[in-house]
Amino acid sequence: MSLSRISNLTILNACGDEGLYFSVGPFIVCLHTSIPSVIEGVALLYGDYPIAETSAFADYHITLQATAGVRRWYRPQVNFLFDGYKPFKPLPLSQSMPSFEWGLNWCIANNAHQYLIIHAAVVEKNGRAVILPAPPGSGKSTLCAALVNRGWRLFSDELALISMKNGNLVPIPRPVNLKNDSIEIIKSFAPDAVFSQKVRDTNKGTVSLMKAPGESAQRSTEVARAAWVVFPSYLAGADATLTSKPKAQACMALAQNAFNYNVLGAQGFKVLSSVVDASDCYEFGYSQLDEAIEVFDGLAASV
């Protein structure tokens, strides 16, 4: 199967009237924009993604638009529109590309109830996936970025999609959202990785998006089963330690980190508990990425 890939040219053509239709994991996104930083960002970060096979249907129609009015001259802003609807306050124009990422997360979390959606990173090796749920600040994205630069396949750094039909984890490999110190840490950890320009002064501080490894993007239709649920926390100076976590606690903690657990009712509980039942659950404290990788590779090597 030959997939046509997104190129600068297709983006420039498509971001005109028709919009750019591309596949991100299980979803087709149609993007409309004429903002240069978004066009460059998509070309840089989504270059390995297949253009959607059809331009007749999209799951999410998204527009990023510079706001009108006098403010555009002294404080330009960007609006995120979900098919004409503005769910958010406008942000400074410089944050257009991160807005696309955050806004698309919002669209998925609020609409795609065919999945149980957990706020977690997911990576996979040898057909077995690890779910890394965590609140912001726990170093989840940093750890995820490190793992996918050392042979793990990226499913997502933000949204674990668990099929309500069969409990499979479904990849949605998008750029990894790194914040503040993590950016330089990952840049020196993985000098070959591709990064977007830093965007300063966002609500999360300085952010930069790391391009998903090409292989992850190309294999985005290959699902996997969860084998581990690991709750990471970055602890300055700590040795990497994996501590077993009782399954009931892990289940509750996953439910708390889920976006739509309350929407899915009894069926959601069933799917979540079957994922936990099939997984080994751990707390994981770490400070050094190399040590962390060793621990995860150890898990992957175990039978």
Partner: protein, 370 residues
């Protein structure tokens, strides 16, 4: 002047059209339905047995929206039970209005319906005690400043919305169905005299069948923000189709509308359900509602031009050049109908200023807090 019918209303009227839709048409109909809060309604009218016959890309949207609607239905039932509990120490009935009423009575609008809050009606004299028991059961008046308090309590027909501190569900407590300052005055005592106990409950009531229809119509055609107007029109259509099986329904409906000073909203309800959703309204009923409820010719023409635009899904594909103006005029109209001019102008100015300086939208970067 007649706006072209949108794809969504065509499919709602004739669900079997689903089988003929191209992928591009599905894309459009899903988008229109989502904006109109009718995606789950559409999903519930597409039997799961024919999911195999519609495109694979479409099915997840139907299932997901159905899931959300099922959950909301569950929540509304649960909350009505809690309100009934709260009322136990009161000698007052819980009269559930609109969406909540359709849920407890299992009426057809309930299929795939989405809800924003629960509306209940109480006697004006019990308002203070109702507020007290609701507070003691966890519902609090939230996000209201002194001006809003004044607005609700003095001029409107309800208490400021009460939100449950833990569960977040909002209850609107009305003491009549139109504001005190409005130009029509349906007598709330007459409504309360005809309430019916819902089977399976001890103290939960709905309005009579006829009054439910009239209230739905009144609410829709006095409402100013019609972004979800089509959803309410779909409710009306479902109610009319359902109750019209009862002998004498149409005569009673017209009679009661005359008695309650609600002929105008009834006229609009029958006209636009028939035009947009092909509701089978008998000629006699239509003529009778026209005889008393139809506005003078020029106004009728204008209202047609406004409602036919504003009742469409609030989606760019359904807009023409005049749609934004129509929505704006109806917004001003709704306030004008609710309040006399000397109150209205300062109120709208204040609202406009407040809106400008206190945006209520969420922050896009804080996904985890939504």
């Amino acid at each position: 002047m007649i706006a072209k019918p949108c794809l969504l209303t065509q499919v709602l009227v004739k669900p079997e059209r689903c089988l003929e839709l191209s992928l591009r048409e599905w894309d459009l109909v899903i988008r229109q339905a989502r904006r109109a809060l009718l995606l789950s309604r559409l999903a519930s009218s597409v039997n799961e047995s024919i999911h195999g016959l519609i495109p694979d890309l479409v099915v997840p949207h139907l299932l997901a929206s159905k899931c959300l609607a099922d959950k909301q239905l569950h929540i509304i039932k649960y909350e009505v039970d809690r309100i009934q509990e709260a009322f136990q120490s009161l000698d007052a009935p819980v009269v559930v209005l609109k969406g909540g009423a359709y849920v407890v009575s299992g009426l057809p609008p309930v299929h795939g319906r989405l809800f924003s809050d629960i509306d209940i009606l109480v006697h004006k004299k019990s308002l203070d005690r109702v507020e007290e028991v609701m507070s003691s059961h966890g519902w609090m008046v939230t996000h209201v400043d002194a001006y809003d308090e004044h607005y609700y309590r003095e001029w409107m027909h309800e208490l400021p919305p009460m939100k449950h501190v833990r569960r977040g569900v909002v209850v609107d407590i009305h003491h009549t169905i139109l504001p005190e300052t409005a130009c029509f005055h349906p007598d709330p005592k007459k409504l309360m005299a005809d309430i019916q106990l819902v089977s399976g409950y001890e103290n939960v009531y709905t309005l009579s069948d006829i009054d439910m229809v009239l209230h739905s119509a009144t609410h829709l055609f006095f409402e100013g923000e019609l972004e979800h107007g089509l959803r309410d029109l779909v409710d009306l259509d479902a109610l009319l189709r359902h109750f019209s099986k009862d002998e004498g329904f149409w005569d009673q409906l017209v009679e009661r509308a005359a008695e309650m000073d609600l002929m105008r909203p009834l006229y609009y309800a029958l006209r636009y359900t028939q035009q947009m959703l092909q509701t089978p309204v008998p000629d006699v009923a239509m003529k009778a509602s026209e005889a008393i409820g139809k506005p003078p010719a020029a106004l009728a023409w204008l209202m047609d031009a406004l409602f036919r635009r504003a009742l469409m899904p609030d989606h760019p594909s359904c807009d023409d050049a005049f749609t934004p103006l129509a929505r704006w005029v109806l917004y001003i109209r709704s306030h004008y109908l609710r309040m006399p001019f000397h109150l209205l102008i300062p109120h709208l100015v204040r609202k406009a200023i407040k809106k400008r300086f206190s945006p209520t939208q969420a922050d896009v970067s804080k996904l985890e807090e939504n």
